[in-house]
């Protein structure tokens, strides 16, 4: 049933072969075809611009007021590319290897190889568009090493790489909007997918200003709607990030891949109060010079300056002498949780660990530290009011990215023909753990260089019947959408949307976050549906559906999170192994490290929706590793 459609032949020839075998659409016929793209982040904007340049009609949708707001904009660190400009031993092969290994052997080799191959074209494309990457004095591009990788392959634009890459794609998109090739729909949210005779043929949307329910027909649909980290309520995602587009598609037949694979970033500013609405990430680069520690004694409330050296536990340096503070994200996060669970956490609520720069300042001088990390120290002070040159920073892990998403084949097509999924919204390239500076790379690879081949191939090789919005399928889906909105508004209970969202977030974070146990997951599988039940009986939304109503928008998204949350726990329960950032307490080595189980779990989980009230069905796509040898990761 699950056909990954990986081309045959040697891995370094697969993409070339696939491209040659793909069918093309005659330039004169392209304008007769319409493509819907939902989402305007790196993947969506780059796909929309590229396909419009080729001559297709594109409809692009975003819920924000402008496509430039998409959350790709917040990525700080950089974008990887196997350019080997530094002559430091990098190559496509090495980026491929690092990504498969970093993903803890839960990604498809062929996809990852293609990603590494394309990485070099992305940098060329972005430079041509005027992305202001950092330069050296001779005018050449600067790079840095990132996330514990041994080569310097990360291109960056100060601490705003995501912003600059997104603006590049946004500008290309606006140029196409001006020509009329793209019709942009802002403040417009996709609320359902229309499937006609088994193929994705359109979407139903809500105009967020007027509440009008509209439908759009096309030859195919692309979802580039980002990740679902906000199921945890608190995450580093933007407030609007949601799962609705992919969840509605899932309910229409698209399988959901690896829903429990979420990335927890180790260096975020800890939660400080009950009303907190989001978490802020501090760049991972801080761990290059900061030392992580907690007091040795439980419940030690002395200020850090009064805790003598011998009463501090530099736990990463102690447990992982060879990598120390630079262990990968998942290891750093899990260890922080462990010491806090032991009662040795610091700061309000005891949910934090110190990241101390005192040694670096002694060794390098304050001015050098300021030059390297000044903007981050300023940001930290802005938010916490503390001066990290004088007192150690406090950090704690936070949800940052979701590797899971809709299952797609090598062509980025889901299990619904004609429904393509790109960027963070698909499950594809990062396995169980994403390496730093790889999200931007994947989003742009999908949008600039993969979909512009695979979509024309789909259009050329399927004989698509003429379908417009007068087809009865559109009326039926529009009806479903209107009924659901009416139902949400009619509950008129007592609780606000946010109160449900926060409660769900805590359940998922506590039992389906960094460490999971069968017991906790089973308890969630009972509690999440109970909460959903209460939501549908006790929610209160003020206002109507025919106006700008931000509570109604949130309610629709939270209703979907309440279903997704259950599936995440089910997936996590099924996967009785520790891999990537996902620690199953039942699966650990004698010294407490994560233990992967390749015998039983070397597969992608792809869940099929079986209807309201029915259990999902699990399909497995086996993973085989021919080029990178399976090995247990060790950072001791």
């Amino acid at each position: 049933m699950l056909e990954s459609k990986i081309p045959s032949g040697p891995i370094e020839k697969k993409w070339e072969k696939a491209r040659f075998e793909m069918k093309l659409v005659n330039p004169a016929n392209r304008r007769k075809h319409t493509i819907i793209i939902v989402g305007s982040g790196l993947a969506g904007a780059s796909a929309a611009a590229s396909l419009a340049q080729q001559g297709y009609n594109v409809h692009c949708f975003c819920f924000q007021d402008s496509p430039r707001r998409a959350h790709s904009i917040a990525a700080q660190g950089g974008i990887n590319a196997a350019k080997n400009y530094r002559n430091d031993g990098d190559s496509i092969q090495r980026l491929f290897y690092d990504t498969v290994k970093g993903g803890d052997f839960r990604a498809r080799e062929a996809n990852v190889y293609r990603l590494a191959e394309i990485s070099v074209n992305i940098i060329d494309q972005c430079v041509a568009q005027g992305v202001p990457f950092a330069r050296e004095y001779g005018g050449l591009l600067d790079t840095r090493s990132f996330g514990g990788v041994q080569v310097s392959r990360t291109f960056y634009a100060r601490g705003q790489t995501g912003q600059q890459l997104l603006l590049g794609a946004y500008q290309a998109l606006e140029e196409q909007i001006a020509t009329g090739a793209v019709k942009m729909h802002t403040r417009s949210e996709m609320l359902d997918l229309v499937v006609v005779n088994g193929r994705a043929r359109g979407v139903v949307t809500r105009d967020l200003l007027t509440g009008a329910i509209e439908s759009f027909a096309a030859d195919c649909v692309v979802l580039a709607t980002g990740g679902y980290g906000n199921v945890f309520y608190l995450s580093t995602n933007a407030k609007g990030c949601n799962t609705t587009a992919i969840w509605r598609a899932h309910r229409r037949g698209a399988f959901f891949g690896n829903p429990c694979f979420t990335q927890i970033h180790p260096t975020c500013i800890p939660v400080s109060n009950e009303n907190q609405s989001k978490l802020t990430l501090m760049s991972e680069s801080l761990r290059n010079d900061g030392r992580v520690w907690v007091p040795k004694k439980k419940g030690d409330t002395r200020p850090p300056s009064q805790i003598p050296e011998e009463e501090r536990d530099y736990y990463l340096e102690r447990r992982y002498p060879s990598f120390g503070n630079l262990v990968p994200r998942d290891v750093a996060s899990r260890n922080a949780k462990e010491v806090c669970d032991e009662g040795r956490g610091v700061g309000p609520g005891g949910q934090g660990v110190y990241l101390d720069f005192a040694d670096a300042i002694r060794r390098l001088g304050e001015s050098v530290v300021r030059e390297k990390y000044g903007n981050l120290f300023d940001m930290y002070e802005e938010i916490t009011g503390e001066n990290a040159y004088k007192v150690p920073m406090r950090i704690y892990p936070a949800v940052h990215y979701t590797m899971g998403g809709l299952w797609v084949d090598y062509q980025l097509m889901s299990t619904i023909p004609g429904l393509f999924v790109a960027g963070e919204a698909n499950f594809s390239d990062h396995g169980a753990n994403r390496l730093g500076a790889s999200a931007l790379m994947q989003g742009l690879a999908d949008g600039y260089f993969i979909l512009p081949y695979t979509i024309p191939n789909y259009i050329a090789s399927s004989s698509l019947e003429k379908v417009d919005t007068s087809h009865p399928a559109f009326a039926a889906v529009t009806d479903d959408v209107s009924r659901r909105i009416a139902k949400l508004l009619a509950i008129q209970g007592k609780r606000t949307v946010d109160s449900f969202h926060k409660e769900l977030g805590k359940l998922i974070w506590n039992n389906c976050g960094m460490a999971r146990s069968a017991e906790g997951l089973r308890s969630n599988l009972q509690k999440v549906p109970e909460l959903r039940e209460e939501f549908w009986n006790n929610l209160r939304i003020i206002g109507t559906g025919e106006e700008l109503n931000q509570s109604l928008e949130k309610a629709g998204r939270v209703a979907d999170f309440l279903e997704l949350g259950e599936l995440m726990c089910l997936d996590a329960l099924e996967r009785e192994e520790s891999c990537g950032g996902h620690f199953r307490v039942e699966s650990q080595t004698p010294d407490g490290e994560a233990l992967r189980d390749d015998e039983k779990f070397s597969f992608v989980s792809a869940w099929e929706w079986k209807g309201e009230g029915d259990q999902w069905e699990l399909h497995q796509e086996p993973l085989t590793f021919e080029h990178v040898h399976l090995a247990q990761r060790s950072y001791k």
């Binding site: 590229s50 340049q53 924000q64 007021d65 402008s66 430039r68 707001r69 998409a70 959350h71 904009i73 917040a74 350019k83 074209n121 940098i123 060329d124 494309q125 430079v127 041509a128 568009q129 005027g130 202001p132 330069r135 050296e136 004095y137 001779g138 005018g139 050449l140 591009l141 912003q163 600059q164 946004y170 500008q171 290309a172 606006e174 140029e175 909007i177 001006a178 802002t186 200003l209 580093t236 933007a238 407030k239 609007g240 109060n273 009303n275 907190q276 609405s277 989001k278 802020t280 938010i383 009011g385 600039y448 512009p452 606000t496 109160s499 003020i542 206002g543 106006e547 700008l548 509570s551």
Partner: protein
């Protein structure tokens, strides 16, 4: 701490609006300004009143979606900060704050504190890009960019398109926004072929959107959350002069 908020309430673009006063209690210094508004919204919804609508998304000062006036100052007057990153630490118990949307003809109010900034997108459509269709690019190393030019381009490209510059300007001019994009692209070798077309077209689009023009007040620079310098407007004007003469010569 407890605060008194006077907030602009307006049902939609066509309705007229008015200030409504609210008390908000239990604000803590570690909240952000928008978290304080979340708290207010939870309370007023409990009373059956519609929550205050305001635009926001990333809440880390980079998406540019949030923004309103606090006591008449865009983003609240704490230098280099958007309202989403503005900490309640800077306020004190008993403060009375007036919140109102960006005021500009080119930014119609949509509801309460949310405005329509699509005029900015249309300025970009007029020329805020470098035409480079996917796939035609030379190797990235083939284009050398002097570090000074790259740094200036980045300083300008840091603009988040929030609209504070327009809101602060007595003429509701979009000069800082437009100049920032023109400076970004015109500073780079890749931007040269379209340099003067771009400048003339974007400035024309800006005027067509009913933005005013610059009379050197400098209010825009003072409220810009990304500290974009007003000097870029001078650069834009220089290129505009060149573009105008060039066009007349044709």
């Amino acid at each position: 701490m407890n605060l008194t908020l006077k907030i602009w309430r307006q049902q939609d673009t066509k309705s007229s609006g008015k200030f409504v006063s609210y008390q908000v209690q239990g604000v803590t210094p570690d909240m952000s300004f928008l978290e304080m508004l979340d708290l207010l919204n939870e309370n007023i919804q409990a009373k059956g009143e519609a929550p205050v609508a305001f635009d926001h998304d990333c809440r880390e000062g980079i998406c540019g979606m949030c923004g309103f006036l606090i006591n008449g100052v865009a983003h609240g007057g704490h230098r280099g900060t958007t309202v989403c990153q503005l900490s309640m630490r800077f306020f004190k118990d008993g403060d009375s704050l007036t919140l109102e949307p960006w005021r500009a003809k080119a930014f119609p109010v949509l509801r309460d504190l949310a405005v329509d900034r699509s005029a900015f997108d249309r300025i970009i459509q007029a020329g805020g890009f470098i035409t480079a269709p996917t796939g035609v690019a030379p190797d990235a190393r083939a284009i050398l960019v002097p570090k000074e030019a790259a740094d200036r381009a980045m300083d300008a490209a840091a603009c988040i398109g929030c609209g504070a510059c327009v809101a602060a300007c007595p003429n509701a001019a979009a000069m800082l926004f437009t100049a920032a994009k023109i400076t970004h692209l015109n500073s780079l070798p890749q931007g040269q072929p379209q340099r003067y077309e771009r400048t003339a077209d974007m400035v024309a689009a800006m005027s067509a959107e009913l933005f005013g023009s610059c009379t050197n007040h400098g209010e825009c620079e003072a409220v810009c959350p990304k500290k974009i310098p007003i000097e870029f407007i001078g650069r834009m004007n220089r290129d505009l002069l060149h573009a105008t003469l060039h066009r007349r010569g044709e």
